[in-house]
């Protein structure tokens, strides 16, 4: 049964956020007998409550609090108040993620070494290697039930996948299958198997897709060591004169200020909210924000090189039927500078319902060139491009002039595409067009990036304290009992969907934290 801890309990680990990083870390620590309080800004909606309707679900789950966007990226023009499409709810973005669970490639931990000096790119090697992470990747895959790992079968391919597969074969691609998905291909872990319902982005009403909401969190609560407090918005982290954090101040569900004491604080609010919280925690001792002696907090924001390609066919596809991310092509994920860019990208099937297709196919467009595409909605197939984008110091989260309902400065998300990002996206659009044309598409559409779903890198991991915010364990270089536990730790972004790596790092971090506590080192 779920624990209840006192606000004055100085022995708890406080985790800010309950998604892939925070939810996993909370359960892993609770399983080791460590007392944990997870403060989650959003409400708790169990999976029965999810809604098979795009806009209604968006209102239910999305982070709708104010944010601002700046820079030359198109999202800042089309969606100036919605730079990212991520979740504010218990379970975080594991409620709406698609489930793709790919390991990083070895060279993606060593991009400074592998890619060399790219002007304007703030490349840095990770302070860890694929070999170090492999045992933890295996544990994460087991935890999440990832298909095509651990003897688990792949999911069946839907219509959208069949078209991708046929086109991939025509183009000579070799690595195309229904992916490594954290979606049950058979019942497992007291959860259903996939019923090909679609609406993966709206929360899986079958519970077939892994989410911390109905795996890690209830398992942690069952230990009696984990308490989750929904609708608890953390305002700032407090520290003492000896440079240790002592707790957090938050607004509870009634808007009242509360102060939860803590032995350790782990920040897992995603790559926009986590740096915002560290910056909003500035004090006279740390005027630039907590853990920011390097000046890197908020910098090197990455969002992956994305874009979509939709192909229109003479006959029906019904791409929305079944698993949203139903297939993947990995042939372009390699690092091959002969293509004119460093790093690589994946193709993954994607579909949007009619309401979101209208909003995102070509934001701002109108007239018959646009509406004739929607007239053939049922004949569209879709793929998403997801590739490695270049970290840049000037792509960053800063505190905006805009304030939220608590009077806290909100995050501004500034992005300018790097030339490498633009070259990669153009290559992806071109290959995607060829693929669909090879199987008879009569029109093909290059769709610009959606508001960011992969948000990475703003508290980067580094060997040397001057280069980043956290060490190889996600422990901040400046403050021993302050950790970062989400995708903001990523030194660089890789070409892979980030959730599996976030979960992997959280499992590993939990071991480190438990050992450090045992030794009274923190």
């Amino acid at each position: 049964m779920a624990a209840r801890f006192s606000l004055d309990d100085e022995s708890v680990v406080v985790i800010v956020g309950s998604g892939a990083g925070g939810g996993t870390l909370g359960n892993e620590l609770a399983q080791k007998g460590i007392k944990v309080v997870i403060l989650e800004a959003g409400a708790r909606h169990e999976y029965d409550d999810f809604i098979n309707n795009e806009w209604a679900s968006f209102s239910q789950l999305s982070w709708g609090d104010a944010r601002t966007a700046s820079g030359s990226w198109r999202v800042a023009k089309d969606f100036p108040h919605l730079p990212a499409w991520i979740v504010k709810a218990v379970g975080g973005s594991t409620t709406h993620w698609a489930g793709a669970s790919l390991r990083f490639q070895e060279h993606e931990f060593k991009t400074a070494t592998t890619y060399g000096n790219l002007a304007g790119a703030n490349l840095l090697d990770w302070p860890l290697t694929l070999a170090e992470l492999e045992p933890y990747y295996a544990r994460a895959e087991e935890k999440m039930g990832v298909t095509r790992t651990g003897g688990r079968p792949g999911l069946p391919g839907n219509n959208n996948f069949k078209i991708m597969k046929a086109g991939a074969t025509k183009l000579g691609y070799k690595e195309c299958n229904t992916g490594h998905m954290a979606i049950n291909s058979r019942p497992r872990d007291n959860r259903n198997s996939c019923q090909q319902t679609g609406f993966c982005f709206q929360g899986c009403k079958w519970g077939a897709k892994w989410s911390t909401l109905y795996t890690e969190i209830p398992k942690g609560e069952a230990t009696g060591k984990l308490e989750v407090r929904p609708e608890s918005h953390v305002a700032h982290i407090e520290h003492d004169a000896s440079d240790r954090v002592t707790g957090v101040v938050y607004f509870d569900k009634d808007g009242k200020i509360q102060r939860q004491k803590a032995r350790i604080v782990a920040v897992a609010g995603n790559s926009i909210e986590s740096p915002r919280l560290l910056l909003n925690s500035a004090s006279s001792k740390f005027p630039d924000g907590l853990a920011n002696s390097s000046g890197q907090v908020g910098r090197n924001y990455m969002r992956h090189v994305t874009g979509s390609v939709y192909g229109l066919f003479e006959k029906p596809v019904h791409m929305y039927r079944g698993t949203t991310m139903a297939g993947i092509i990995r042939d372009e994920a390699r690092h091959d500078p002969s293509r004119g860019f460093a790093g690589g990208y994946e193709f993954e099937t994607i579909s949007l319902g009619l309401p979101f297709m209208a909003a995102f196919l070509d934001p701002g467009a109108w007239g018959r060139e646009f509406t004739t595409a929607l007239d053939s909605y049922s004949n569209l197939a879709g793929m998403w491009i997801v590739g490695e984008d270049m970290p840049q110091e000037t792509n960053r989260i800063t505190l905006s002039e805009t304030k939220d309902r608590f009077g806290l400065a909100v995050a501004d998300v500034h992005v300018d595409d790097h030339a490498n990002d633009i070259a990669m996206r153009a290559h992806g659009y071109g290959q995607g067009r060829k693929l669909y044309e090879a199987v008879g598409a009569t029109r093909v559409f290059p769709t610009p990036p959606y508001p960011s779903t992969h948000n990475l890198g703003t508290n980067r991991m580094s060997e040397k304290p001057r280069d980043g915010v956290v060490n190889k364990w996600g422990q901040t270089h400046d403050i021993k009992n302050l950790f970062v536990s989400d995708g903001s730790q990523f030194t660089t972004g890789g070409a892979e969907n980030p959730t599996l790596t976030i979960v992997t790092l959280a499992i590993r971090q939990a071991e480190f934290i438990a050992a450090q506590m045992q030794q009274n080192a923190i």
Partner: protein
């Protein structure tokens, strides 16, 4: 008659989506297809719906229905859905004079640019779209288009026209209903 029920739910024959009906409708001038009643409501007898207008001039609401179609033209979608998409502006205008003034000003500008007969008097879509293109950099147009992309396409009743099936959980998903039924590849 109201917008919220389809004609066939009100005991009327279902109208609007067949090619024959489309041709019949489009042969009428738009201003004749949607009449303004003495009480200031809009009435479309061929599609069997009416719309009370509360915050805008009835003529303005009628023009907005045509503008909505000109922004997002779908020949198989009856006017009823465009009328439903326009209604939130009328509701907002009823309680917000600034919104009412912005919309009325935008329509007045279009009517003036269109000359005698105003915007709805321009019989050719291409002429109306040319006016909209000229107005498309205005804040009012940007607001109307941004609202419309949700208020038009987020109507579940029109999704079937596009072949989108909507909610599927209650039907058990598509695992036994054609998730992999393509045979033409």
């Amino acid at each position: 008659m109201s917008l919220d029920k389809a004609p066939h739910e009100q005991g009327q024959p279902k109208v609007g989506v067949s090619r024959r009906n489309f041709l019949k409708r489009s042969s009428l001038a738009f201003s004749a297809a949607i009449a303004i009643t003495p009480a200031g409501a809009l009435l479309n007898t061929s599609e069997a719906w009416g719309l009370e207008v509360k915050g805008l001039k009835p003529e303005t609401a009628r023009t907005l229905i045509l503008i909505a179609r000109d922004i997002y033209p779908h020949d198989r979608v009856p006017d009823r859905f465009y009328a439903i998409a326009v209604r939130p502006w009328d509701t907002k205008a009823a309680s917000d004079p600034a919104t009412a003034a912005e919309i009325e000003g935008f329509i007045a500008g279009l009517d003036k640019a269109a000359g005698n007969g105003g915007y709805v008097g321009l019989g050719w879509e291409a002429d109306r779209v040319a006016l909209l293109r000229e107005a498309s950099s205005s804040n009012a147009f940007a607001m109307l288009r941004a609202d419309l992309v949700t208020s038009l396409y987020n109507q579940p009743a029109l999704w079937s026209i596009f072949g989108y099936e909507g909610e599927s959980f209650s039907k058990g998903g598509y695992i036994n209903r054609g998730f992999n039924d393509i045979t033409w590849l």
